[in-house]
Amino acid sequence: MQIAIASGKGGTGKTSLAVSLFLANRDRSRLLDCDVEEPNCHLFLATRFVSRTSVEKRIPLLNPDLCKHCGKCVEACQFNALAEAGKAGILVFEELCHSCGGCTFVCPTGALHETPLKMGAITRALVAGKAELITGALAIGHTETPSLIRAVKKTRPDPEVAFTLIDAPPGTACAFAAAVEHTDFVLLVAEETPFGLHDLKLAIKALQKMEIPFAVVLNRMRPGFSSVLEFCKEKNYPLWLQIPESRAIAETYARGGTLLDAMPELEESLRLLLDQCAEAILCNPRN
Protein backbone atom coordinates (compact mmCIF):
# COMPACT_ATOMS: atom_id res chain seq x y z
CA MET A 1 0.00 0.00 0.00
CA GLN A 2 1.29 3.44 -0.90
CA ILE A 3 0.47 6.29 1.45
CA ALA A 4 1.64 9.83 0.74
CA ILE A 5 2.14 12.48 3.38
CA ALA A 6 1.49 15.83 1.76
CA SER A 7 0.56 19.42 2.51
CA GLY A 8 -0.65 22.34 0.41
CA LYS A 9 2.14 24.52 1.73
CA GLY A 10 5.61 23.91 3.12
CA GLY A 11 6.56 24.01 6.77
CA THR A 12 3.40 22.46 8.16
CA GLY A 13 5.39 19.70 9.84
CA LYS A 14 4.88 17.25 6.98
CA THR A 15 8.41 15.83 7.01
CA SER A 16 8.44 15.57 10.79
CA LEU A 17 5.18 13.61 10.66
CA ALA A 18 6.38 11.41 7.79
CA VAL A 19 9.59 10.54 9.64
CA SER A 20 7.75 9.91 12.91
CA LEU A 21 5.14 7.76 11.21
CA PHE A 22 7.94 5.79 9.58
CA LEU A 23 9.82 5.32 12.86
CA ALA A 24 6.74 4.24 14.75
CA ASN A 25 6.00 1.68 12.00
CA ARG A 26 9.53 0.79 10.92
CA ASP A 27 8.85 -2.94 11.21
CA ARG A 28 6.29 -2.74 8.42
CA SER A 29 7.07 0.27 6.25
CA ARG A 30 9.66 2.00 4.12
CA LEU A 31 9.94 5.72 3.43
CA LEU A 32 10.45 7.43 0.07
CA ASP A 33 11.63 11.03 0.30
CA CYS A 34 9.98 12.48 -2.80
CA ASP A 35 10.49 16.09 -1.77
CA VAL A 36 13.37 15.94 -4.23
CA GLU A 37 14.07 19.67 -4.34
CA GLU A 38 14.58 19.72 -0.58
CA PRO A 39 14.95 16.12 0.60
CA ASN A 40 15.19 16.34 4.38
CA CYS A 41 14.00 13.06 5.90
CA HIS A 42 17.57 11.74 6.25
CA LEU A 43 18.45 14.68 8.50
CA PHE A 44 16.17 13.29 11.20
CA LEU A 45 17.18 9.65 10.92
CA ALA A 46 20.30 7.73 11.87
CA THR A 47 20.93 6.01 8.55
CA ARG A 48 23.43 3.55 7.17
CA PHE A 49 24.31 4.31 3.57
CA VAL A 50 23.74 1.42 1.17
CA SER A 51 23.95 2.69 -2.38
CA ARG A 52 23.50 5.64 -4.68
CA THR A 53 22.48 5.65 -8.33
CA SER A 54 22.50 8.60 -10.70
CA VAL A 55 19.32 9.52 -12.51
CA GLU A 56 20.02 10.75 -15.98
CA LYS A 57 18.17 12.59 -18.62
CA ARG A 58 19.03 12.57 -22.28
CA ILE A 59 20.11 15.74 -23.98
CA PRO A 60 20.94 16.29 -27.65
CA LEU A 61 24.57 16.56 -28.71
CA LEU A 62 25.45 18.25 -31.98
CA ASN A 63 27.86 17.02 -34.60
CA PRO A 64 28.63 20.40 -36.26
CA ASP A 65 30.03 18.74 -39.39
CA LEU A 66 26.64 17.29 -40.23
CA CYS A 67 24.52 20.33 -39.34
CA LYS A 68 22.97 22.10 -42.33
CA HIS A 69 21.62 25.01 -40.27
CA CYS A 70 18.09 24.31 -41.32
CA GLY A 71 16.64 25.32 -37.92
CA LYS A 72 14.15 22.44 -37.82
CA CYS A 73 15.33 21.34 -34.37
CA VAL A 74 14.97 24.82 -32.90
CA GLU A 75 11.48 25.06 -34.32
CA ALA A 76 10.54 21.64 -32.92
CA CYS A 77 11.72 22.31 -29.38
CA GLN A 78 8.80 23.45 -27.22
CA PHE A 79 10.95 24.33 -24.23
CA ASN A 80 13.32 26.95 -25.67
CA ALA A 81 16.23 24.64 -24.99
CA LEU A 82 17.77 25.16 -28.42
CA ALA A 83 18.99 28.28 -30.18
CA GLU A 84 20.64 28.89 -33.51
CA ALA A 85 24.22 30.04 -33.07
CA GLY A 86 25.53 30.95 -36.49
CA LYS A 87 28.51 28.97 -37.68
CA ALA A 88 28.72 26.87 -34.53
CA GLY A 89 25.40 25.30 -35.48
CA ILE A 90 23.00 25.15 -32.56
CA LEU A 91 23.32 25.74 -28.85
CA VAL A 92 21.75 23.42 -26.26
CA PHE A 93 20.58 24.84 -22.91
CA GLU A 94 20.75 21.53 -21.15
CA GLU A 95 18.92 22.64 -17.99
CA LEU A 96 15.85 23.59 -20.02
CA CYS A 97 15.80 20.37 -22.03
CA HIS A 98 12.92 18.01 -21.18
CA SER A 99 14.49 15.05 -22.98
CA CYS A 100 11.56 14.66 -25.33
CA GLY A 101 13.75 13.56 -28.23
CA GLY A 102 11.89 15.86 -30.62
CA CYS A 103 14.95 17.59 -32.03
CA THR A 104 16.81 14.37 -32.77
CA PHE A 105 13.66 13.02 -34.38
CA VAL A 106 13.20 15.94 -36.78
CA CYS A 107 16.84 16.56 -37.70
CA PRO A 108 17.08 15.58 -41.39
CA THR A 109 20.85 15.04 -41.41
CA GLY A 110 21.44 12.98 -38.28
CA ALA A 111 23.51 15.82 -36.79
CA LEU A 112 21.99 15.29 -33.36
CA HIS A 113 22.26 12.30 -31.11
CA GLU A 114 21.32 11.90 -27.49
CA THR A 115 23.74 11.71 -24.62
CA PRO A 116 23.07 11.17 -20.90
CA LEU A 117 23.32 14.00 -18.37
CA LYS A 118 22.97 13.58 -14.63
CA MET A 119 19.97 15.44 -13.21
CA GLY A 120 19.70 13.86 -9.80
CA ALA A 121 20.44 10.86 -7.63
CA ILE A 122 18.57 8.22 -5.69
CA THR A 123 20.11 7.10 -2.40
CA ARG A 124 19.21 3.95 -0.52
CA ALA A 125 19.91 3.81 3.20
CA LEU A 126 18.84 1.67 6.15
CA VAL A 127 17.36 2.87 9.40
CA ALA A 128 17.42 0.86 12.63
CA GLY A 129 18.76 -2.28 10.98
CA LYS A 130 16.47 -2.99 8.09
CA ALA A 131 13.88 -0.26 7.50
CA GLU A 132 14.53 1.38 4.18
CA LEU A 133 14.82 5.08 3.36
CA ILE A 134 14.99 5.99 -0.33
CA THR A 135 15.90 9.60 -1.08
CA GLY A 136 15.64 11.41 -4.39
CA ALA A 137 17.74 14.57 -4.74
CA LEU A 138 17.51 16.91 -7.71
CA ALA A 139 20.83 18.33 -8.92
CA ILE A 140 21.18 22.11 -8.51
CA GLY A 141 19.93 24.06 -11.51
CA HIS A 142 17.81 21.21 -12.88
CA THR A 143 14.06 21.30 -13.24
CA GLU A 144 12.87 17.71 -13.80
CA THR A 145 11.20 17.46 -10.40
CA PRO A 146 8.28 15.25 -11.55
CA SER A 147 10.44 12.78 -13.52
CA LEU A 148 12.80 12.30 -10.60
CA ILE A 149 9.85 11.74 -8.26
CA ARG A 150 8.49 9.07 -10.62
CA ALA A 151 11.93 7.42 -10.68
CA VAL A 152 12.03 7.28 -6.88
CA LYS A 153 8.55 5.75 -6.81
CA LYS A 154 9.64 3.06 -9.26
CA THR A 155 12.14 1.59 -6.77
CA ARG A 156 10.91 -1.85 -5.74
CA PRO A 157 9.91 -2.61 -2.17
CA ASP A 158 10.78 -5.77 -0.31
CA PRO A 159 7.57 -7.83 -0.67
CA GLU A 160 7.49 -8.33 3.10
CA VAL A 161 7.11 -4.60 3.71
CA ALA A 162 3.42 -3.74 3.79
CA PHE A 163 3.55 0.05 3.55
CA THR A 164 5.39 2.49 1.33
CA LEU A 165 5.25 5.95 2.89
CA ILE A 166 5.92 8.89 0.59
CA ASP A 167 7.04 12.32 1.79
CA ALA A 168 5.52 14.45 -0.99
CA PRO A 169 6.76 17.90 -2.04
CA PRO A 170 4.72 20.88 -0.78
CA GLY A 171 2.15 22.64 -2.94
CA THR A 172 -0.49 21.33 -5.30
CA ALA A 173 1.22 21.66 -8.69
CA CYS A 174 2.88 19.09 -10.92
CA ALA A 175 5.45 17.90 -8.35
CA PHE A 176 2.74 17.21 -5.79
CA ALA A 177 0.67 15.45 -8.46
CA ALA A 178 3.62 13.24 -9.44
CA ALA A 179 4.14 12.23 -5.80
CA VAL A 180 0.52 11.40 -4.99
CA GLU A 181 -0.59 9.88 -8.33
CA HIS A 182 -1.27 6.13 -8.08
CA THR A 183 -1.01 6.19 -4.28
CA ASP A 184 -3.77 4.51 -2.28
CA PHE A 185 -4.23 7.18 0.36
CA VAL A 186 -2.96 10.63 1.33
CA LEU A 187 -2.47 12.12 4.78
CA LEU A 188 -2.75 15.89 4.45
CA VAL A 189 -0.88 17.84 7.09
CA ALA A 190 -2.38 21.27 7.74
CA GLU A 191 -1.61 23.97 10.26
CA GLU A 192 -4.11 26.04 12.17
CA THR A 193 -3.51 29.40 10.46
CA PRO A 194 -5.29 31.30 7.65
CA PHE A 195 -2.50 30.33 5.22
CA GLY A 196 -2.82 26.74 6.41
CA LEU A 197 -6.57 26.65 5.80
CA HIS A 198 -6.30 28.22 2.36
CA ASP A 199 -3.62 25.77 1.23
CA LEU A 200 -5.45 22.78 2.71
CA LYS A 201 -8.49 23.65 0.60
CA LEU A 202 -6.32 23.70 -2.54
CA ALA A 203 -4.75 20.36 -1.70
CA ILE A 204 -8.15 18.77 -1.07
CA LYS A 205 -9.42 20.06 -4.41
CA ALA A 206 -6.42 18.53 -6.16
CA LEU A 207 -6.92 15.15 -4.46
CA GLN A 208 -10.64 15.10 -5.21
CA LYS A 209 -9.88 15.76 -8.86
CA MET A 210 -7.43 12.84 -8.84
CA GLU A 211 -9.93 10.72 -6.89
CA ILE A 212 -7.49 9.81 -4.14
CA PRO A 213 -8.94 9.31 -0.64
CA PHE A 214 -7.40 11.33 2.19
CA ALA A 215 -7.53 12.27 5.85
CA VAL A 216 -6.30 15.40 7.60
CA VAL A 217 -3.67 15.70 10.32
CA LEU A 218 -3.95 19.03 12.07
CA ASN A 219 -0.72 20.52 13.35
CA ARG A 220 0.03 23.60 15.48
CA MET A 221 -3.34 23.70 17.19
CA ARG A 222 -3.52 26.88 19.27
CA PRO A 223 -6.06 27.56 22.00
CA GLY A 224 -8.77 29.84 20.67
CA PHE A 225 -8.23 29.06 16.98
CA SER A 226 -10.22 26.39 15.22
CA SER A 227 -10.86 27.43 11.61
CA VAL A 228 -9.34 24.26 10.10
CA LEU A 229 -11.07 22.08 12.66
CA GLU A 230 -14.44 23.64 11.90
CA PHE A 231 -13.83 23.44 8.17
CA CYS A 232 -13.17 19.68 8.40
CA LYS A 233 -16.24 19.15 10.58
CA GLU A 234 -18.48 21.14 8.30
CA LYS A 235 -17.32 19.28 5.19
CA ASN A 236 -17.20 15.95 6.96
CA TYR A 237 -13.54 15.39 6.12
CA PRO A 238 -11.82 12.81 8.33
CA LEU A 239 -9.52 14.45 10.89
CA TRP A 240 -7.39 11.70 12.37
CA LEU A 241 -4.72 13.34 14.45
CA GLN A 242 -4.31 16.68 16.21
CA ILE A 243 -0.98 18.03 17.40
CA PRO A 244 -0.66 21.13 19.57
CA GLU A 245 1.49 24.18 18.82
CA SER A 246 4.42 23.99 21.18
CA ARG A 247 7.75 25.66 21.52
CA ALA A 248 9.15 22.38 22.87
CA ILE A 249 8.33 20.58 19.59
CA ALA A 250 9.89 23.44 17.61
CA GLU A 251 13.04 23.28 19.74
CA THR A 252 13.32 19.49 19.44
CA TYR A 253 12.95 19.86 15.68
CA ALA A 254 15.66 22.53 15.59
CA ARG A 255 18.01 20.10 17.36
CA GLY A 256 17.33 17.45 14.72
CA GLY A 257 14.65 15.60 16.66
CA THR A 258 11.27 14.54 15.37
CA LEU A 259 7.74 14.90 16.60
CA LEU A 260 8.15 11.47 18.15
CA ASP A 261 11.21 12.61 20.13
CA ALA A 262 9.24 15.55 21.50
CA MET A 263 6.13 13.49 22.24
CA PRO A 264 7.09 9.80 22.65
CA GLU A 265 3.54 9.10 23.76
CA LEU A 266 2.48 9.60 20.13
CA GLU A 267 4.00 6.26 19.07
CA GLU A 268 0.78 4.35 19.71
CA SER A 269 -1.33 6.94 17.85
CA LEU A 270 1.03 6.80 14.89
CA ARG A 271 0.69 3.02 14.65
CA LEU A 272 -3.06 3.44 14.82
CA LEU A 273 -2.93 6.14 12.17
CA LEU A 274 -1.35 3.72 9.70
CA ASP A 275 -3.91 1.04 10.61
CA GLN A 276 -6.64 3.56 9.92
CA CYS A 277 -5.13 4.29 6.50
CA ALA A 278 -4.97 0.56 5.73
CA GLU A 279 -8.57 0.10 6.78
CA ALA A 280 -9.70 3.01 4.61
CA ILE A 281 -7.79 1.61 1.64
CA LEU A 282 -9.19 -1.90 2.03
CA CYS A 283 -12.74 -0.59 2.48
CA ASN A 284 -12.46 1.77 -0.49
CA PRO A 285 -15.08 0.62 -3.00
CA ARG A 286 -12.57 1.35 -5.77
CA ASN A 287 -10.39 -1.55 -4.69
Binding site: K9, T12, C100, H142, A173, Y253, A254, R255
Partner: protein
Protein backbone atom coordinates in the same frame (compact mmCIF):
# COMPACT_ATOMS: atom_id res chain seq x y z
CA UNK B 1 15.07 54.20 -14.60
CA UNK B 2 15.11 50.43 -14.22
CA UNK B 3 13.11 49.20 -11.25
CA UNK B 4 15.02 47.03 -8.78
CA UNK B 5 13.62 43.65 -7.98
CA UNK B 6 13.91 42.06 -4.54
CA UNK B 7 12.93 38.38 -4.43
CA UNK B 8 12.21 36.65 -1.13
CA UNK B 9 12.74 32.89 -1.17
CA UNK B 10 13.27 30.26 1.49
CA UNK B 11 14.38 26.87 0.23
CA UNK B 12 12.35 25.06 2.85
CA UNK B 13 8.69 26.04 3.16
CA UNK B 14 7.12 27.42 6.31
CA UNK B 15 10.03 29.58 7.42
CA UNK B 16 7.82 32.68 7.47
CA UNK B 17 8.73 33.93 4.00
CA UNK B 18 5.27 35.25 3.17
CA UNK B 19 4.85 36.93 6.56
CA UNK B 20 8.14 38.75 5.98
CA UNK B 21 7.15 39.68 2.44
CA UNK B 22 3.91 41.13 3.84
CA UNK B 23 5.88 43.15 6.40
CA UNK B 24 8.13 44.55 3.67
CA UNK B 25 5.06 45.35 1.62
CA UNK B 26 4.03 47.61 4.49
CA UNK B 27 7.51 49.05 4.95
CA UNK B 28 8.59 50.04 1.45
CA UNK B 29 6.62 53.04 0.22
CA UNK B 30 6.48 52.81 -3.55
CA UNK B 31 6.54 49.36 -5.12
CA UNK B 32 4.79 46.76 -7.20
CA UNK B 33 4.11 43.37 -5.58
CA UNK B 34 4.20 39.94 -7.18
CA UNK B 35 3.30 36.67 -5.49
CA UNK B 36 5.56 34.16 -7.22
CA UNK B 37 4.63 31.38 -4.81
CA UNK B 38 1.84 30.45 -7.22
CA UNK B 39 1.57 27.00 -5.74
CA UNK B 40 0.59 28.33 -2.30
CA UNK B 41 -0.31 31.91 -3.12
CA UNK B 42 -1.06 33.30 0.31
CA UNK B 43 0.17 36.88 0.20
CA UNK B 44 -3.28 38.16 -0.74
CA UNK B 45 -4.63 36.82 2.57
CA UNK B 46 -2.71 39.48 4.49
CA UNK B 47 -3.32 42.38 2.10
CA UNK B 48 -6.81 43.70 1.44
CA UNK B 49 -7.11 43.04 -2.28
CA UNK B 50 -9.57 44.22 -4.90
CA UNK B 51 -9.16 42.26 -8.10
CA UNK B 52 -9.04 44.61 -11.08
CA UNK B 53 -8.14 42.09 -13.76
CA UNK B 54 -8.41 38.34 -14.00
CA UNK B 55 -7.66 36.02 -16.91
CA UNK B 56 -6.67 32.46 -17.74
CA UNK B 57 -3.00 31.80 -18.20
CA UNK B 58 -1.93 29.74 -21.15
CA UNK B 59 0.99 27.64 -20.05
CA UNK B 60 1.63 25.80 -23.27
CA UNK B 61 -0.05 23.16 -25.36
CA UNK B 62 -1.17 19.59 -25.09
CA UNK B 63 -1.80 16.98 -27.71
CA UNK B 64 -5.24 15.56 -28.49
CA UNK B 65 -5.89 12.65 -30.82
CA UNK B 66 -8.79 12.94 -33.22
CA UNK B 67 -10.30 9.42 -33.14
CA UNK B 68 -11.83 9.87 -36.60
CA UNK B 69 -8.45 10.46 -38.20
CA UNK B 70 -6.34 8.06 -36.15
CA UNK B 71 -5.44 4.83 -37.97
CA UNK B 72 -4.13 3.09 -34.83
CA UNK B 73 -0.58 2.75 -36.10
CA UNK B 74 0.91 3.31 -32.63
CA UNK B 75 3.76 5.52 -33.79
CA UNK B 76 2.87 8.33 -31.36
CA UNK B 77 2.78 6.00 -28.37
CA UNK B 78 6.16 4.56 -29.30
CA UNK B 79 7.74 8.02 -29.49
CA UNK B 80 6.15 9.69 -26.48
CA UNK B 81 8.73 9.75 -23.69
CA UNK B 82 6.21 10.65 -20.99
CA UNK B 83 3.87 7.66 -21.22
CA UNK B 84 1.16 10.15 -22.08
CA UNK B 85 -0.37 8.14 -24.93
CA UNK B 86 -2.50 5.31 -23.68
CA UNK B 87 -4.63 2.72 -25.38
CA UNK B 88 -8.16 1.89 -24.43
CA UNK B 89 -11.05 0.12 -26.12
CA UNK B 90 -11.67 3.24 -28.15
CA UNK B 91 -8.09 3.36 -29.43
CA UNK B 92 -5.17 5.68 -28.76
CA UNK B 93 -5.74 8.61 -26.41
CA UNK B 94 -3.66 11.33 -24.76
CA UNK B 95 -3.60 11.37 -20.96
CA UNK B 96 -3.83 15.14 -20.53
CA UNK B 97 -2.28 15.00 -17.08
CA UNK B 98 0.85 13.22 -18.25
CA UNK B 99 1.33 15.16 -21.50
CA UNK B 100 4.38 17.44 -21.28
CA UNK B 101 3.45 19.33 -24.42
CA UNK B 102 6.57 18.39 -26.36
CA UNK B 103 4.76 18.10 -29.73
CA UNK B 104 6.78 15.06 -30.79
CA UNK B 105 3.64 13.02 -31.49
CA UNK B 106 2.02 15.86 -33.43
CA UNK B 107 5.03 16.10 -35.73
CA UNK B 108 5.33 12.35 -36.07
CA UNK B 109 1.77 11.22 -36.75
CA UNK B 110 1.71 10.09 -40.39
CA UNK B 111 -2.03 10.79 -40.63
CA UNK B 112 -2.08 14.26 -39.03
CA UNK B 113 -4.52 12.91 -36.50
CA UNK B 114 -3.13 14.76 -33.49
CA UNK B 115 -4.32 18.24 -32.69
CA UNK B 116 -2.24 20.80 -30.85
CA UNK B 117 -4.45 22.44 -28.24
CA UNK B 118 -3.78 25.38 -25.94
CA UNK B 119 -3.41 24.37 -22.31
CA UNK B 120 -4.26 26.61 -19.38
CA UNK B 121 -2.67 26.13 -15.98
CA UNK B 122 -4.51 28.65 -13.86
CA UNK B 123 -5.76 32.20 -13.44
CA UNK B 124 -3.59 35.28 -13.13
CA UNK B 125 -4.84 38.38 -11.40
CA UNK B 126 -3.99 42.02 -11.00
CA UNK B 127 -5.25 43.47 -7.73
CA UNK B 128 -5.32 46.82 -6.03
CA UNK B 129 -4.07 46.86 -2.44
CA UNK B 130 -3.23 49.63 0.01
CA UNK B 131 0.42 48.58 -0.41
CA UNK B 132 0.51 48.85 -4.20
CA UNK B 133 -0.52 46.81 -7.22
CA UNK B 134 -0.27 43.05 -6.67
CA UNK B 135 0.16 40.48 -9.43
CA UNK B 136 -0.80 37.03 -8.27
CA UNK B 137 -2.26 33.78 -9.53
CA UNK B 138 -4.08 30.65 -8.61
CA UNK B 139 -2.88 27.47 -10.21
CA UNK B 140 -5.34 24.80 -11.24
CA UNK B 141 -4.83 21.75 -9.01
CA UNK B 142 -2.02 19.52 -10.26
CA UNK B 143 -1.23 21.89 -13.13
CA UNK B 144 2.16 22.00 -14.83
CA UNK B 145 4.45 24.83 -15.53
CA UNK B 146 4.34 27.07 -12.53
CA UNK B 147 7.73 28.33 -13.72
CA UNK B 148 6.22 29.97 -16.78
CA UNK B 149 3.48 31.53 -14.71
CA UNK B 150 6.03 32.94 -12.27
CA UNK B 151 8.00 34.53 -15.13
CA UNK B 152 4.77 35.93 -16.50
CA UNK B 153 3.83 37.56 -13.18
CA UNK B 154 7.30 39.07 -12.85
CA UNK B 155 7.08 40.47 -16.38
CA UNK B 156 3.72 42.03 -15.60
CA UNK B 157 5.09 43.57 -12.42
CA UNK B 158 8.16 44.89 -14.23
CA UNK B 159 6.06 46.42 -16.97
CA UNK B 160 3.81 48.11 -14.42
CA UNK B 161 6.83 49.47 -12.53
CA UNK B 162 8.43 50.79 -15.73
CA UNK B 163 5.22 52.39 -16.98
CA UNK B 164 4.58 54.16 -13.72
CA UNK B 165 8.16 54.92 -12.74
CA UNK B 166 7.98 52.76 -9.62
CA UNK B 167 11.49 52.00 -8.32
CA UNK B 168 10.93 48.66 -6.54
CA UNK B 169 9.38 45.27 -7.25
CA UNK B 170 8.88 42.98 -4.29
CA UNK B 171 8.45 39.30 -5.14
CA UNK B 172 7.29 36.63 -2.70
CA UNK B 173 9.06 33.68 -4.29
CA UNK B 174 8.28 29.96 -4.22
CA UNK B 175 9.97 27.42 -1.95
CA UNK B 176 12.35 24.78 -3.29
CA UNK B 177 15.18 24.99 -5.83
CA UNK B 178 13.36 23.75 -8.94
CA UNK B 179 11.79 25.34 -11.95
CA UNK B 180 9.51 27.93 -10.24
CA UNK B 181 12.36 29.20 -8.05
CA UNK B 182 14.71 29.49 -10.98
CA UNK B 183 11.98 31.37 -12.84
CA UNK B 184 11.55 33.72 -9.88
CA UNK B 185 15.20 34.70 -9.43
CA UNK B 186 16.81 34.86 -12.88
CA UNK B 187 17.71 38.47 -13.55
CA UNK B 188 16.62 39.71 -10.10
CA UNK B 189 18.63 42.49 -8.44
CA UNK B 190 18.74 40.91 -5.03
CA UNK B 191 17.60 37.84 -3.11
CA UNK B 192 16.57 37.58 0.51
CA UNK B 193 16.53 34.02 1.83
CA UNK B 194 14.32 33.54 4.87
CA UNK B 195 15.55 30.48 6.74
CA UNK B 196 15.18 28.89 10.17
CA UNK B 197 17.69 27.26 12.53
CA UNK B 198 16.67 23.65 11.96
CA UNK B 199 18.43 20.80 10.17
CA UNK B 200 16.09 21.20 7.19
CA UNK B 201 16.42 24.97 7.23
CA UNK B 202 20.19 24.71 7.11
CA UNK B 203 20.28 21.93 4.52
CA UNK B 204 17.95 23.85 2.21
CA UNK B 205 19.84 27.08 2.76
CA UNK B 206 22.96 25.43 1.38
CA UNK B 207 21.07 24.31 -1.72
CA UNK B 208 19.40 27.66 -2.26
CA UNK B 209 22.68 29.57 -1.84
CA UNK B 210 24.28 27.30 -4.42
CA UNK B 211 21.46 28.21 -6.76
CA UNK B 212 21.84 31.97 -6.09
CA UNK B 213 25.55 31.67 -6.74
CA UNK B 214 24.88 29.74 -9.94
CA UNK B 215 22.94 32.77 -11.19
CA UNK B 216 25.31 35.32 -9.56
CA UNK B 217 22.70 37.32 -7.68
CA UNK B 218 23.62 39.25 -4.51
CA UNK B 219 22.00 37.39 -1.62
CA UNK B 220 21.17 38.06 2.03
CA UNK B 221 19.94 35.72 4.69
CA UNK B 222 17.37 36.39 7.37
CA UNK B 223 17.19 33.81 10.16
CA UNK B 224 13.66 33.53 11.49
CA UNK B 225 12.89 31.77 14.82
CA UNK B 226 16.61 32.34 15.51
CA UNK B 227 16.43 31.67 19.25
CA UNK B 228 15.12 28.11 18.84
CA UNK B 229 18.69 26.88 18.39
CA UNK B 230 21.51 29.40 18.37
CA UNK B 231 24.25 27.00 17.26
CA UNK B 232 23.20 27.42 13.61
CA UNK B 233 24.17 31.09 13.41
CA UNK B 234 27.90 30.40 13.00
CA UNK B 235 27.27 27.57 10.51
CA UNK B 236 24.92 29.73 8.47
CA UNK B 237 27.37 32.63 8.47
CA UNK B 238 30.14 30.33 7.22
CA UNK B 239 27.90 28.85 4.59
CA UNK B 240 26.89 32.37 3.50
CA UNK B 241 30.49 33.56 3.33
CA UNK B 242 31.41 30.61 1.12
CA UNK B 243 28.89 31.66 -1.50
CA UNK B 244 29.40 35.42 -1.11
CA UNK B 245 26.14 36.01 0.80
CA UNK B 246 25.64 37.73 4.18
CA UNK B 247 23.41 37.14 7.19
CA UNK B 248 21.45 40.38 7.43
CA UNK B 249 19.47 39.81 10.61
CA UNK B 250 17.69 37.51 13.04
CA UNK B 251 14.15 37.35 14.37
CA UNK B 252 13.06 35.33 17.42
CA UNK B 253 10.46 32.55 17.45
CA UNK B 254 7.25 34.50 17.90
CA UNK B 255 3.54 33.77 17.99
CA UNK B 256 2.88 37.33 16.77
CA UNK B 257 3.35 36.26 13.15
CA UNK B 258 0.44 33.83 13.16
CA UNK B 259 -1.63 36.26 15.21
CA UNK B 260 -1.05 38.99 12.64
CA UNK B 261 -1.97 36.46 9.94
CA UNK B 262 -5.18 35.70 11.78
CA UNK B 263 -6.00 39.43 11.63
CA UNK B 264 -5.30 39.45 7.89
CA UNK B 265 -2.42 41.90 8.37
CA UNK B 266 1.35 42.02 8.36
CA UNK B 267 3.15 42.12 11.68
CA UNK B 268 4.13 45.75 11.03
CA UNK B 269 0.45 46.73 10.81
CA UNK B 270 -0.90 44.43 13.50
CA UNK B 271 1.83 44.93 16.10
CA UNK B 272 3.75 48.05 15.02
CA UNK B 273 5.48 48.59 18.35
CA UNK B 274 6.58 44.98 18.93
CA UNK B 275 10.32 44.25 19.02
CA UNK B 276 9.77 41.86 16.06
CA UNK B 277 8.39 44.74 13.97
CA UNK B 278 11.26 46.99 15.08
CA UNK B 279 13.84 44.38 13.98
CA UNK B 280 12.11 43.89 10.64
CA UNK B 281 12.13 47.63 9.99
CA UNK B 282 15.87 47.76 10.71
CA UNK B 283 16.51 44.84 8.35
CA UNK B 284 14.41 46.46 5.64
CA UNK B 285 16.37 49.70 6.04
CA UNK B 286 19.68 47.89 5.61
CA UNK B 287 18.35 46.08 2.55
CA UNK B 288 17.21 49.37 1.08
CA UNK B 289 20.66 50.89 1.64
CA UNK B 290 22.35 47.94 -0.06
CA UNK B 291 20.05 48.18 -3.02
CA UNK B 292 20.60 51.94 -3.33
CA UNK B 293 24.36 51.41 -3.18
CA UNK B 294 24.38 48.82 -5.92
CA UNK B 295 22.09 51.01 -8.01
CA UNK B 296 24.48 53.96 -7.61
CA UNK B 297 27.32 51.68 -8.60
CA UNK B 298 25.41 50.45 -11.62
CA UNK B 299 24.92 54.02 -12.83
CA UNK B 300 28.62 54.90 -12.56
Amino acid sequence: MQPQELVIISGKGGTGKTSIAAAFADYFPNKVLADGDVDAADLFLVLQVTETQIAEFQSGHIAEIDPDKCRQCGKCAALCRFDAIVTSESGYQVDARACEGCKVCVNACPHHAIEWKEAFCGLWKESRTAQGTLFHASLYPGAENSGKLVSFLRDKARKKAMDEGIPLILVDGPPGIGCPVIASITGAARILVVTEPTPSGYHDLERVLALAKHFQIPTHILINKADLETSYLKKMEDCAAKSGATVIGQIPYSPLFSEAQQKGQSILKAFPTSPEAETLRTIATILKQKMDESEAEGQK
